[in-house]
Amino acid sequence: MGRNLTCATVVLAFFLVAPALAQEKKAKPLKVTGDVGLLDTEKNYMIVVTKEGKLVTVDFDQKTKVTKFVPGPAKMSDIGLGQAASITYKQAGDKNVIDVLEFKVKAKKGE
């Protein structure tokens, strides 16, 4: 009788804890890109408007890391293989000719 009660308690505890564990695993960071539609530095929240017109309200605090990317001149030789880049090109005959190339420099560790 006592053994049965113990088994039942363990099973019940498992069913209670499992969803909580699953939820913890689910909490992976999300990313949204868009234009800043509202920024309230007093109430510490902002609204991002995505390209699709969706509004995402996000709160921020002192821990929120804010990074600005400042453009600067560079050379083609500065670009490494595998580096993320965005290009603007025009089709001239059967060739694509790049007008503008932008790439993000990775932040050094500790920055």
Binding site: P73, M76, K90, F103
Partner: protein, 147 residues
């Protein structure tokens, strides 16, 4: 008697000739189709216009295309690179001395530095109670004119 016969004959000949002439006049209307021909010509003219209009966009089609991805190959001797997009598409593009190369250097900033309407990428965690808490905010500063 002979006179009467000759007069009758002349009248008949005149009648016959005049009737032929009338028939020719009546037949004449088929000349009208000339008008539809003009109309067709007029119709053809507007049809030609769209063709010209189509030719113009073909010339104007050389508008810039934007693509993002990772640099898969960079040949500084042959002046070309291959960009691999997120979808796995390979874009081969040449660059020249005129190609403007810009590096975006990350620098720490404050929330108050962000302007309304500025493009930003926000990484956040969906917290309890439906609140999203931002862990990082990244935005690109627009280059000033002339830079």
């Amino acid at each position: 008697m002979n006179n009467l016969l000759s007069i009758t004959g002349v009248v008949l000949v005149i009648f016959a000739l005049s009737s032929c002439a009338l028939e020719q006049e009546k037949v004449a209307p088929p000349a009208k189709p000339a008008a539809p021909a003009v109309a067709e010509a007029k119709k053809a003219a507007p049809a030609a216009k769209p063709a010209e209009a189509k030719a113009k966009p073909a010339e104007a089609k050389v508008k810039p295309v934007k693509a993002s991805g990772d640099v898969g190959l960079m040949d500084l001797e042959k002046n070309y690179l291959i960009l691999v997009t997120k979808e796995g598409k390979l874009i081969t593009a040449d660059f020249t001395g005129k190609t403007k190369v810009t590096k975006l250097v990350p620098q720490p900033a404050k929330m108050s530095d962000i302007n309304l309407g500025q493009s930003a990428a926000v990484t956040y965690n969906a917290g309890k109670g439906g609140k999203n808490i931002a862990t990082s905010v990244e935005y690109a500063v627009k280059a000033k004119k002339g830079e």
